[in-house]
Amino acid sequence: MRLALLPFLLLAVVLIALSVGRYPLAPSDILGFLGACLGLVDLPPERFDLLRNLIVEIRLPRVLAAGLIGAALSSSGASFQAVFRNPLVSPGILGVLGGAGFGAALGILLSGDSLTVQISAFVMGLVAVGVGILISNLFGSASMVTLVLGGMISGALFTSALSLVKYAADPYDQLPAIVYWMMGSLGAVDLKQLKGAAPAILLGVGALTLAGRALDALSMGDDEARSLGVPVHVTRYGVIAAATLASSLSVSLAGMIGWVGLVVPHVARLAIGPTNSRLLPASALLGAAFLIAADCVARNITRAEIPIGVVTELLGIPAFILVLGRARRAWA
């Protein structure tokens, strides 16, 4: 029953993430602050204000954002792997990343205001997936292969549009902004943005978690799922909609954060098995813990912050090689 351990793992990672930083705190400080907030412990007012500033205003938004985004990308990846019956699929398969990247760059080119950039990234992420589905349905009803191809075409289309925007961007000011955005960062996320995005991300992750049993049937094949009473199209497009909502919002908040959506579901599958009703919550919890930890590394390993997308790639690749060794038998 390892699924039950994951919430504790996540809690421990959160506690560590709130403690470490340029002004290190002991986990007991965090617990003390929590106690003071609840009126159980007395803290001197200056100490309380310092802790409040560090924990609530500086670190908590990043921890919450990392947790939400990690959960969103991992559960999207796990559900896409089931929908497409392919363990090598990641959340970007239908073009959401290409679209969101283009949207963000366009936002930077046209206004530079961070809210505009986020909204533009989110909307274009949805548009790209819509275009991919449209292309796959051009010549009759979409099969899984045409869906993947439609997504690839759409992703490529938006990636080339992104190149065009980069070419048109001011090389001293806008172009670096676009490049940094692409590397991913949680540095700009504040509590207000989180309040806007969190309910929709949680809705997406929650919907995916509920689809677990249908996804098990779907990963056997369309005809078999139908013969088991599962509405195949509703499930497939419902899952795509929920995963796209969650991952597009994630990208709009923090830029490109790669490998989480591919690697975390595999690690979760090795730990608790392939049954999606358990795998999806496990992926969400593990993904949250992983990205919070990766963000800790990103902001503490050097004096200057490293883009989190770079950290997830550097951590994700060796993890994936290890997973490959363990999971090889199942793929042969």
Partner: protein
């Protein structure tokens, strides 16, 4: 939800289906019910799989109608169909290492729905079906690591877990070794004796003659013959269907047998 009727039956009436311009079925009529084993013979590409997909409601016919327990198939929800008719595909490999227990548990989906977790009674049903098919030693093995014959039995177990009286099996013997082919035949006979109706497509007329209560032949988009094995399987028909010579005779125990006539090269060792 309507309860499955005790006398379950599934019928396709005058089914027409075309893929693009190519006509696949031109008025095929086929039905089977509880207690029967109907074997469907037909050459490669004759349209057996299409006919099955129409009967299961995965495809819609251009003309004609499918009736389940006397009512149009289209009047049933997917879940209602799944509680009456189960589909057994050829043993395939899944991309994810589900255990045999987990695969069979999927058969409880029509009963539990998509949101309710399996209960103790579901687990009991699954375990008893798995031991009935004699694969209990595999119960916690990954489905990806068992043999083709074991996978086929797992899929039959999943179909039984649905609680459906009618089973549609698409060439279940394909790729199985001799022992598993015979074991499969024995299981199908037992299922029919138990009140299940089985529609099975096969490339082995011998299998059909051993276990089927009826044999139907799909040829050029129509059911060319449908009746007791002795009447349907003749040397002339086998020649027309498969383009090969076979001898058809009754053995000393009164069962009809097929023997292929293979032209031997001069001097080949006997």
């Amino acid at each position: 939800m309507r309860e499955p009727s005790p006398r379950s039956q599934l019928q396709g009436l005058d089914l027409h289906f075309a893929r693009g311009k190519r006509s696949v079925l031109e008025g095929a009529t086929l039905g089977f019910g509880a207690g029967e084993i109907l074997a469907l013979l037909g050459a490669n590409g004759a349209g057996k799989s299409t006919l099955f997909r129409l009967l299961l409601g995965f495809l819609s016919a251009k003309r004609g109608e499918v009736r389940l327990d006397g009512a149009p198939l289209s009047s049933f929800s997917r879940r209602e169909i799944a509680r009456r008719v189960a589909y057994v595909p050829q043993g395939h490999v899944t991309p994810f290492p589900y255990t045999v227990r987990e695969v069979v548990m999927l058969g409880r989906l029509p009963e539990t729905g998509l949101l309710r977790a399996p209960r103790a009674e579901d687990r009991e049903i699954v375990e008893s079906i798995i031991s009935r098919l004699g694969i209990e030693r595999l119960i916690d093995q990954p489905y990806t690591e068992i043999s083709g014959g074991e996978r086929q039995l797992t899929l039959i177990a999943r179909a039984l877990a649905q609680g459906a009286r009618l089973l549609v099996m698409d060439e279940p013997a394909t790729g199985l070794d001799y022992g598993y082919q015979l074991r499969l035949m024995r299981h199908l006979s037992a299922l029919a004796a138990d009140g299940h109706g089985v529609l099975v497509s096969t490339h082995h007329p011998e299998h059909a003659m051993q276990i089927a209560t009826r044999i139907a032949i799909l040829h050029e988009g129509r059911i060319e013959a449908d009746g007791p094995p002795q009447q349907v399987v003749t040397a002339e028909r086998m020649r027309r269907l498969y383009g090969v010579e076979v001898a058809v005779f009754d053995d000393p125990f009164g069962a009809r047998r097929l023997a292929p006539i293979v032209e031997r090269r001069e001097g080949a060792p006997r």
